[in-house]
């Protein structure tokens, strides 16, 4: 039964009060911006933490001004203690992975653009959507609160490996209250993401406007949809794991603590648990999480590249199927994080094979991007530069994945900077480049103003060169045997590597400072940028068919009708070279097909 009246959107009255409009808003666009703002705040906190760590690594005895204000015990006189270094590292990882790489690409951009790109006036469950953000925000506050409890944040890393994470104060500063706050924060975060996921999946399936078949969805929507399918179950596993961890702290259980454990000369009262169990549960979430961060970036980069290449990718379907394959395999590979954990060696082999297999869909995607770029007249702007940068980072970081996927090599490299360099390039920096590409690309739509292109390009080159200067040497350090999670390398065989560390630190400081250009550009353009036209990049998808910024219910009370596949570029006879998705013009030939 088709409801013809569905063309007319439900009449919804925009909220007028400040609080309903900007704070507790159910509008997906406001929620998307809130998520993006949260990620922006989080990424700068995380970046400053990495600065502090880098300075400490390069000059272990140096006093960092102001640090004693953050923690009197952790940084007496401004010099980090070894424990406090690890505490900062934990918070860096936690903030970056959960509150930046999960919130920005999926919840931020996805919330803003998925309903518009499918031709809907909002998400299907706007209140759940609002709840999703505020729950996530609450999780962020709980995580940050760990800085301000007496012993500070936990020192067990963003992976919170047991038994370190399960023992309490005896295991080190921050392992008491700080670790509990961490686990509670992550459990809350999981709930928030589950709520968002319900909206993403049902919006993609049910809210598409007339004519928007599944294969007519832009690749961004596919990416967000597939990511939502991954996060649906990934977070549902982490949440109970965190609750069990909290119970180990507050209720005296020993899910993750083995018998007869002596820590700091004290026999622990726990008995019967398994440390490997935590790793299994954590990485069952943790590996899909990597793809939760990177798959939306793949979608954004495809979208940006296509618009700027003025032609579709070599294969639309192959990209979609590759993303589906990645989602499928992402659950089967998690054990490759545990090759050196004492896991059953037979399991290592079983996890190694799908890990190598997951490089196939990844490679297919890279080849499609590069093959499509070949011979195209790419419009060079900041967005497309960052999209190219994404491919570069993804390839550079991904290639080391081939090595790490093999247990025999991983045993050498796992606990070194090699792995740190690998995942920073392939997951963190690549996903960040995706976020940057999306920001420069969609900023005109969101704010109605253009970003400054010159500043954007300066930002790109600093970031691109800087990221390689920081993370490429990590690989050399790792191969030279530089272990990770040490707070100083001054008094053993690693001392000769110190010049490399100093170089990395300087590169990190400069690259980080370059992000202030981005921040300035973002804020300045928001208020004083050049006014943006409706369709500045001459895109074809639905977000470009509505004013910038979009009105309250996106399509002004009337839902669009879609006539075309998403990327109709290089069209013979069109006024420009493209046909919008909602244009009723029929297309008989494409230039490239003659």
């Amino acid at each position: 039964m088709h409801d013809k009246s569905a063309h007319a959107a439900r009449h919804r009255v925009p909220p007028t009060g400040f609080i309903r409009k900007y704070i507790f808003s159910t509008d997906h666009k406001v929620i998307g911006e809130q998520y993006y703002g949260l990620a922006l705040a989080a990424v700068f906190i995380g970046m400053v933490l990495s600065w502090i760590m880098r300075i400490h690594l390069a000059w272990p005895a140096a006093a960092i001004p102001g640090m004693q204000l953050l923690s009197k015990n952790g940084a007496p006189g401004g010099v980090l203690t070894p424990e406090y270094y690890l505490q900062l590292m934990t918070m860096h990882g936690t903030i970056m992975v959960f509150f930046v790489l999960t919130t920005a690409p999926l919840a931020g951009f996805g919330n803003y653009f998925l309903p518009i790109q499918v031709g809907a006036e909002d998400m299907p469950f706007p209140r759940l959507n609002m709840l999703s953000f505020w729950v996530t925000f609450g999780a962020f506050l709980v995580a940050i609160a760990a800085f301000f409890v007496p012993q500070g944040p936990p020192l067990s890393g963003w992976t919170a490996y047991a038994p370190l994470s399960a023992l309490g104060e005896v295991a080190g500063p921050g392992q008491g209250t700080g670790q509990v706050l961490w686990a509670v924060s992550i459990a809350i975060f999981c709930v928030g993401q589950l709520l968002g996921t319900l909206n993403f999946i049902s919006a993609t399936l049910d809210m598409r406007c007339q004519g928007m078949g599944l294969m007519r969805l832009p690749l961004t929507v596919w990416a967000w949809f597939i990511t939502a399918c991954i996060s649906l179950t990934a977070f549902a596993v982490l949440m109970p794991a965190c609750i069990l961890l909290v119970l180990d702290h507050v209720a005296g259980t020993s899910f993750f603590v083995p018998s007869n454990l002596v820590v700091n000369d004290q026999l622990q009262p726990h008995a019967g648990g398994s440390t490997l169990l935590w790793q299994h549960l954590f990485w069952f979430f943790g590996h899909p999480e990597v793809y939760i961060a990177i798959v939306p970036a793949m979608g954004i980069v495809s979208h940006v590249l296509i618009t700027n290449m003025r032609r579709p990718l070599l294969s639309h379907k192959a990209i979609i199927y590759s993303m589906v394959a990645i989602a499928f395999l992402s659950y089967m590979v998690y054990g490759h994080h545990m090759f050196v954990s004492g896991m059953n060696p037979y399991s290592s082999i079983a996890f190694s094979l799908p890990t190598l297999a997951i490089t196939i869909p990844s490679t297919i995607m890279v080849l499609i991007w590069i093959g499509s770029l070949y011979g195209s007249k790419l419009r060079i702007n900041t967005a497309s530069l960052f999209a190219l940068g994404f491919i570069s980072m993804f390839v550079s970081g991904g290639i080391t994945g081939f090595f790490l996927a093999q247990p025999s090599l991983d045993i050498m490299l796992h606990a070194t900077y090699f792995v740190v360099g690998h995942f920073h390039l392939v997951m963190a920096v690549a996903a960040l480049f995706g976020i940057f590409a999306g920001t420069y690309f969609w900023f005109p739509k969101v704010t109605g103003r253009m970003m400054n292109e010159t500043l954007g390009k300066v930002h790109f080159w600093f970031t691109f060169v800087g990221a390689y200067c920081i993370f490429m040497p990590f690989h050399y350090l790792g191969m030279a045997g530089n272990v990770r999670r040490y707070q100083a390398f001054v008094d053993d065989f690693m001392a000769p590597l110190m010049p490399v560390h100093k170089f990395i630190t300087i590169a990190a400081l400069i690259t980080g400072a370059a992000q202030l250009i981005f921040l300035y550009n973002l804020i300045h353009s928001r208020f004083w940028g050049e006014l943006a036209p409706q369709n500045p990049w001459e895109g074809t998808s639905l977000e470009w068919s509505i004013p910038s910024p979009p009105p309250f219910d996106n399509f002004a009370g009337k839902l669009p009708v879609v006539y075309h596949d998403p990327y109709q570029y290089d069209i013979e006879g069109a006024t420009n070279d493209y046909v919008m998705q909602d244009s009723p013009a029929s297309i008989n030939s494409v230039r490239g097909e003659k």
């Binding site: 088709h2 409801d3 569905a6 299907p124 469950f125 589950l194 996921t197 319900l198 999946i201 049902s202 399936l205 049910d206 809210m207 598409r208 406007c209 007339q210 004519g211 078949g213 599944l214 649906l232 179950t233 977070f235 549902a236 596993v237 949440m239 109970p240 794991a241 609750i243 069990l244 119970l247 209720a251 005296g252 259980t253 020993s254 899910f255 726990h270 008995a271 019967g272 648990g273 398994s274 169990l277 299994h280 549960l281 069952f284 009708v561 879609v562 006539y563 069209i571 013979e572 006879g573 069109a574 046909v579 009723p584 013009a585 029929s586 297309i587 008989n588 030939s589 003659k594």
Partner: protein, 209 residues
């Protein structure tokens, strides 16, 4: 090729709006939630199985009376409440609001009896000295996993009762939303389905023979 290749026409094919899963969004969202919830319960059960299997001194304290008998009664009540729930959904879908009201309330009543029996059982175990951190019989994780898993399930049942009452009362007022009854039913059946795994794993593997 020329300008005529691009024609303005109405003969373009526009597929009708359709959802590949052909179900209301609310119902889809409930199914999605249930997938996630299944993963949550499975995590707890796998953790329990992992630890039980790897432990040498796992206690098997449950006697036929009272624990196993009590479990039988609880199982019977839950399965019966699933039947009443299914009939309630059927009544709501067929527009019989009074019947829908009666069946959902009966389901909520069944759930409440289950909760009472369960809490009573918990109290008995606590009296015997079983805690999250220890128990009189052996491996300390016995109490931890028992209370965690049954507690997680109990929270689900209690939430379900609240929702059943809210949804059921609206049926009495004649403002019954058959879709709401249906998704409440999905949730209720799922919670009972989980019990089908909790019983053998947490109770029946630990009976003293």
């Amino acid at each position: 090729m020329s300008q005529s290749d691009l024609t303005m026409g109405t003969h373009l094919s526009v597929p009708e709006r359709s959802s590949p899963f052909a179900m209301p969004s609310k119902k889809l969202a409930m199914w999605l939630f249930l997938i996630a919830d299944a993963a949550t319960f499975a995590t707890c059960l796998v953790a329990y199985g992992f630890l039980r299997n790897g432990s040498l001194n796992w206690p098997t304290p449950f006697k036929f009376f009272p624990t196993v008998v009590n479990t039988m009664v609880m199982t019977f009540i839950l399965v019966t409440s699933s039947l009443t729930m299914a009939l309630g959904v059927r009544a709501a879908k067929m527009g019989d609001q009074d019947a829908a009201y009666r069946w959902t309330m009966l389901t909520a009543a069944g759930g409440s009896i289950f909760v009472l029996l369960h809490v009573h059982e918990w109290m008995d175990l606590i009296d015997e000295g079983v805690r999250l951190s220890r128990n009189p019989w052996g491996n300390a994780l016995f109490g931890a996993s028992f209370f965690t898993i049954t507690g997680l399930h109990l929270i689900h049942v209690m939430a379900g009762i609240v929702v059943l009452i809210v949804v059921g009362l609206r049926c009495r007022g004649g403002r019954c939303d058959a879709g709401d009854v249906e998704i409440t039913g999905l949730y209720w059946h799922f919670v009972n389905l989980v019990w089908m795994f909790v019983v053998p794993l947490v109770y029946l593997l630990n009976v003293s023979k």
